[in-house]
Amino acid sequence: MSIEKKEFKPLIVAFCCNWCSYAGADLAGTSRLAYPAEIKIIRVPCSCRVNPMFVLRAFQRGADGVIIAGCHPGDCHYTSGNYFARRRMTMLFSMLDFFGIERERTRVDWVSAAEGVKFSTVMNDFSKKIHELGENRRLGDLRCKQTIDR
């Protein structure tokens, strides 16, 4: 592993529900509202599709932050998905906090298809927090962070 100190380039995984937040991200794009390139979006049908395992997987693989975006409560395309997601993620985040993982590394936000501005603001804000926190050293798999070498 290279030991020279590089500028911290975080890795952020965003799970966006197909109906609201992914469309919100599209609108941010159409409106040319920039947010950092370190944020990569995974499209899921609904925020309730996000298994806590996926969040942990992202951290395992070296993510510095994970954000889940879904329809506003009450607006879920599937009527109740985001309500379940809300409970699950609250519990997951609380557990991560209990294990001493920085609270700011995880976030849930509700972004509608009309909220391109909000999408960009939320992502910029989240990225800023991750930059402040720096590299995720508490929850990750060393095997994934290192490049295999002799």
């Binding site: 992914y22 390139a37 049908p45 599709r49 693989r61 998905g81």
Partner: protein
Amino acid sequence: MQRIGVFVCWCGTNIAATVDIDTVVEAMKREPGVVHSSDYQYMCSEAGQSRIRNAIKEHNLTGIVVCACSPRMHETTFRKAAKAAGLNEFMVEIANIREHCAWIHKDRTEATEKAVVLARTAVAKLNLNKPLTPGTSDVVKRALVIGGGIAGIQSALDIAEAGYQVDIVEKEPTIGGKMAQLDKTFPTLDCAACILTPKMVEAAQHDNINLITYSEVDSVSGFVGNFTVKIRKKARSVKADICSGCGICTEKCPSKKAKSEFNMGLNNRSAIYIPFAQAIPNVPVIDRDQCIKFKTGKCGLCAKVCPADAIDFSQQDEIIEQKYGAVVLATGFKPIKLDNFDEYSYAASQDVITSLELERIMNAAGPTGGKLLRPSDKKHPHTMVFVQCVGSRDTTGCGKTYCSKICCMYTAKHAMLIREKYPDIDVHVFYIDVRTPGKNFDEFYRRAAEDYGVNYIKGMVGKVAPTNGKLMVQGSDLIADRQVIIEADMVVLATAIEPDQTAKSLATMLTASIDTNNFFTEAHPKLRPVESPTAGVFLSGVCQGPKDIPETVAQASAAAVKVVGLLSKDKLVSNPCVAGSNELLCNGCSNCQHVCPYGAIDYVEKEFRINGKIKIRRVAQVNEAVCQGCGACTVVCPSGAMDLKGFTNQQIMAEVDAICR
């Protein structure tokens, strides 16, 4: 191993200006599974699509990744192109390098790097894609309408007119619902019976409509296009097929002490009765709680006088089972009970009545023959007070939090009709707000105040005290900033309305959701207002929320159109991206069933051969025709037995891995 082709779109300069296309194309060539990687200016153009089609054939591709604009834009386009080249349309993945990359990043290196990551993420997912085939299911060409009020009748008529069989299930002995009880209708003041009864007759005589009155839905199983419904036909004690409706039995019946439901208990009916003259079907029913024959075993007068020999005391409830392709809920409403509002002395004085009771009093076919008389002494009233918002807009738990919507208008109607017919009666209306959005509604209300001299008082009634045969009404007049006391002869309460009590059990049977007030929830509050979230179940009338007659009729027709649209299909094609349970892993715990918003998951006891032994296990099965693919079930499944096609655990984790590489 897949043979993947990657197609990178320039989108003119939209993408190419910030993303270095060559870098992406070259990077993808090194990705596992990729056998072809190329680019084009406009992938979505016919020329672009033909390049994709050719490449699929030339390189024998098993799947394609298109790096272009949002999948919300052109996913369908590229799926069609792939299909045209013989590929399964679900072997297509889109990397959104325009909206999510090129358009939001200025730095070319940064944008190119991100585009590579997004592309390889799509490749990683596609490597795990499996061809998916949409499921199909047959559609039973018959609809069930639950509730025979104006909403149900209208829906049924429209569906029947389109050529489909419709059954109306009505729990009362006659169809007609609440509208049949009304006198006149706002804002045109047509007589309700005059406009409703022809519709009732039309429904009864329609070849495609089958009325199942005095009946309730017992159970529902199945799913969109194929519901199986058990209907309980309550014993009428009268053979409907031979009864001529002559009514002799009702005249001769010696038990005449029962309160007439139709007339809101304002007068009595016999134990064997027809709710009202124009009832459909015009067949009496025996109220077994009141009937002397049923109570003591003696009497049987009705049977003796019946010229058609239609009385059958031994009749039992009958269960009919029928299959339907669609269900319309039109269960309507009822006024709330006023137990929590003793300040209005509703229970203490006969002269304090609800608006629906007033409808009956003013109706020519009503208990007073249409004469406005005080119920207590049958005298002509001189002063009448109307109170608005009784139990509506109440957040204390005594009443309902919502606005009942129809009260402002029917009160204006009542006030106007009274002033017109009896100009000697002073009419006062206490109101919080007068809400009149609707065609000709405000004009109507103003006419009541301006032309008919109805005294509208901005304020509420605090107390109604029966005193010396009068009603002392103490209220506030906020405009004058004073308390007013009116000595009234009658007080009419604009009682809040609530969904009929049958809504709740039906919601459970149909897995149609209801809100905290027991109104049925619509699939989308704006865009799908007449559909329930459960496929194949539609909403008509007040069961979805308070509304007046024109709105109800409009929604009823809208629901009918949705039903007709559904029944016109021979097969339903379902989204193949649905949940599926790996039965070998399933524990049978029911977690998934609890969270499914569509009731798409059933459990079955199934035989398995495990290590040579036969074992019976309880396992989940997803009804693919009902599942909408949200994935809620996948997360609550502890063993990971439940997965979502098209968005499997493995696929999403592969995406995570590809991003975090």
